[in-house]
């Protein structure tokens, strides 16, 4: 910025007019900001000099609400964290409480959770890639990806009864055992998923407009990504190989043969292709899990202090009635203590730091939302780019308002 009374004339006789940065308000009522993020931009022409990202428009007091009821009553709230892949949040929270209780669910349930979780991850990546393409004007891939996403959600609906907000996880198991046709339905999905992946790439990967806006835009460096706490796709796009499923295997992930794809530039194009590749890896995991999953066996842990008794028994025996009453009214009572449990969510490391004071009510439930840190690092991606580049950059970090603002 130069003061106006300065001499404009350069030494070579050319003129350079002094400029002031323009402050522009973008969002929260902007279609690409998902209605939940406000950005205050300082623009020099079309170049972004500085940006202030302001979250909080979807804050509903998740952590405070969790301190209100029982441990089981947290599950519906976790559905509404990352509402594109609620099953992953359900599983993440179940694992956290199970770690506090020091129990492990039966093997069949672990495979069941892996398959449902990977299906959720596929829907998450489909939504993100489709929405990114749509925000850049390509409507066809969006509809095609969402068509398959609906098929995946159809399977999840048949299993859990709800399309999106499943509330299907339970402490020490799942709400229901797998239905009879579960494996067949999942296997029938896989060719559809693989086909639409190829179709999407045929539509977008050699599209000049799409490439121009994705390739080399929104670059994040390795060191900054680590420092800023980014995880998931955003971190892996910079070339850092960190996937909780691989580095700290939980459930039965150490039994599967899969790869962790990494990018090299940390730009939007890397994030787009990594999502495509991760869907392929998820399909690989699902195929192996379907093969290894036992058809018979218990789903829930055998512990009346944790799992509700069978309805048949509740109505016919007094012991089960009392057990049911105590579990509903008082809740599961984990021992005193605090644990940090983390899983690979749709966007990265989804952590739960939970504290129990020995009663049936959570003392503190802190969720470490991957979106929060990915959005924090988006500031670095945007500075120096053009204003129009905000749309693909913001789209490719897959900010989910429910998880970010909680």
């Amino acid at each position: 910025m130069q003061p106006l009374d300065e001499v404009f004339e350069e030494e070579d006789g050319s003129f350079e007019l002094p400029t002031n940065p323009m402050r522009l308000n973008m969002g929260p009522s902007h279609p690409a900001m998902h209605g939940t993020i406000r950005m205050v931009l300082d623009l020099d022409g079309e170049t972004i000099e500085n940006v202030d990202v302001q979250p909080g428009y979807l804050h509903r007091g998740f952590e405070k609400s969790c301190e209100r009821g029982t441990w089981q009553q947290v599950f519906p709230y976790t559905d509404r964290l990352n509402y594109v892949s609620p099953m992953l949040n359900n599983i993440g929270f179940s694992l956290a409480v199970e770690k506090l209780l020091d129990i492990e669910v039966p093997e069949r349930c672990q495979y069941y959770r892996v398959i449902l979780g990977e299906l959720s991850r596929i829907t998450d990546h489909f939504t993100c890639n489709g929405a990114t393409a749509m925000e850049l004007g390509a409507f066809t891939p969006f509809l095609w990806l969402l068509k398959v996403r609906e098929m995946v959600w159809g399977v999840l609906e048949r299993e859990s009864g709800a399309r999106m907000t499943h509330s299907f996880g339970r402490i020490g198991g799942m709400a229901h055992p797998p239905t009879a046709g579960f494996k067949d339905w999942v296997m029938a999905l896989i060719p559809e998923i693989e086909r639409v992946l190829i179709e999407t790439e045929a539509l977008l990967a050699r599209n000049r407009i799409f490439l121009d806006r994705m390739d080399g835009v929104g670059v994040l460096s390795q060191e900054r990504a680590l420092e800023l706490g980014a995880s998931g796709i955003v971190l892996r796009s910079t070339g850092i190989e960190y996937d909780v499923r691989k580095d700290h295997p939980y459930m039965v992930y150490d039994r599967f043969d899969f790869e962790v794809p990494v990018g090299c530039d940390g730009d939007n194009w890397d994030r787009f292709t990594l999502r495509q590749e991760e869907i392929r890896q998820s399909v690989r995991i699902i195929k192996q899990a379907i093969e290894q999953m036992p058809d018979e066996g218990p789903i829930n842990v055998d512990d009346p202090r944790i799992i509700l008794p069978e309805k048949n028994e509740v109505y016919n025996t007094i012991e089960a009635t009392i057990s049911h009453f105590k579990l509903v009214m008082e809740g599961v009572k984990p021992p005193k203590g605090a644990v940090y449990s983390f899983t690979e969510g749709g966007n990265g490391e989804l952590g739960f730091y939970i504290i129990s004071d020995g009663s049936g009510t959570p003392y503190r439930v802190r969720v470490r939302p991957p979106c929060w840190f990915n959005l924090q690092s988006s500031r670095e991606m945007m500075i120096g780019d053009l204003m129009a580049d905000i749309i693909p950059t913001f789209g490719s970090i897959n900010m989910i308002g429910g998880e970010c603002d909680r």
Binding site: E63, E227, Y242
Partner: protein
């Protein structure tokens, strides 16, 4: 998750590591607030620790500790090493109204979590460049994740700034008839209520609930006494 880091910290800082715990495989070390930045810097820069990944920073409120003369808040820092793949949690205790030093100069990722801790718990960070509220708005009164903040508290509505004399009214009253939370922290901190839920409270003989038969009986006796004390109406004279 890594005993090596803990032993390394112990050999480096000695008595200044106040406490170490291992619960379900999670290693946590406790340090004093004055050593907070020094320990964090060491964890980042020491080659054996190499905690390059910032994972999380949060706080926990323990209001009952304050009556025992202990600092009220716990600040928790979670770190991971990318190269060594180990993790550690660091805890420090912060008094109410006490300012904590910022970690933003060590990990830039602490910027938003520290703002969130300020927003939710009211712990101010010295040296942080941008201590604004982050999830809530500037006019919000109080810090909601403190235990003594009632979950059903209504916030004053902010007047429209451009229309004179306009007030927005809340859609419902403050009292909704039914207690919203299982723990009534106001009562609990005043020492009147130790229970966790009404049903459990009645079993352990808690001092006061709405449906407590002793209270009801006492109230009934009072009413009866008042009725008894009143002289009977005189019979109308004919």
């Amino acid at each position: 998750m890594s005993a090596k880091v803990v032993s390394k910290l112990k050999s480096q800082f000695g008595d200044r590591i106040l406490d170490t715990t291992n619960f379900r495989g999670d290693e946590t070390v406790t340090v004093a607030l004055k050593d907070w930045v020094e320990v964090a810097t060491f964890l980042k820069e020491d080659d054996a620790c190499d905690m390059s990944m910032f994972v999380d920073l949060t706080a926990v409120d323990w209001p009952e500790r304050e009556t025992e003369g202990e600092p009220r808040f716990d600040l928790m820092l979670f770190l991971r090493s990318y190269t060594k793949k180990h993790r550690i949690a660091v805890r420090t205790k912060v008094k109410d109204q006490e300012k904590a030093p910022t970690l933003t100069s060590i990990w830039a990722g602490a910027t938003w979590p520290e703002r969130e801790v300020w927003d939710m718990f009211g712990i101010f960070f010295k040296g942080h460049r941008d201590m604004r509220r982050i999830l809530l708005y500037e006019e919000f009164e109080g810090h909601p994740l403190r235990k003594d903040y009632p979950i059903d508290k209504a916030q004053p509505l902010i007047e429209y700034r451009d229309v004179e004399g306009t007030r927005k009214l809340p859609p419902f009253g403050i009292e909704e008839g039914q207690p919203f939370a299982r723990v009534n922290w106001e009562e609990r901190l005043a020492g009147r209520d130790q229970q966790v839920s009404p049903s459990i409270g009645a079993q352990v003989g808690q001092q006061r609930t709405l449906s407590d038969s002793r209270v009801a009986a006492a109230e009934l006796a009072e009413v009866q006494a008042a009725v008894d004390a009143e002289p009977p109406p005189e019979a109308p004279q004919e």
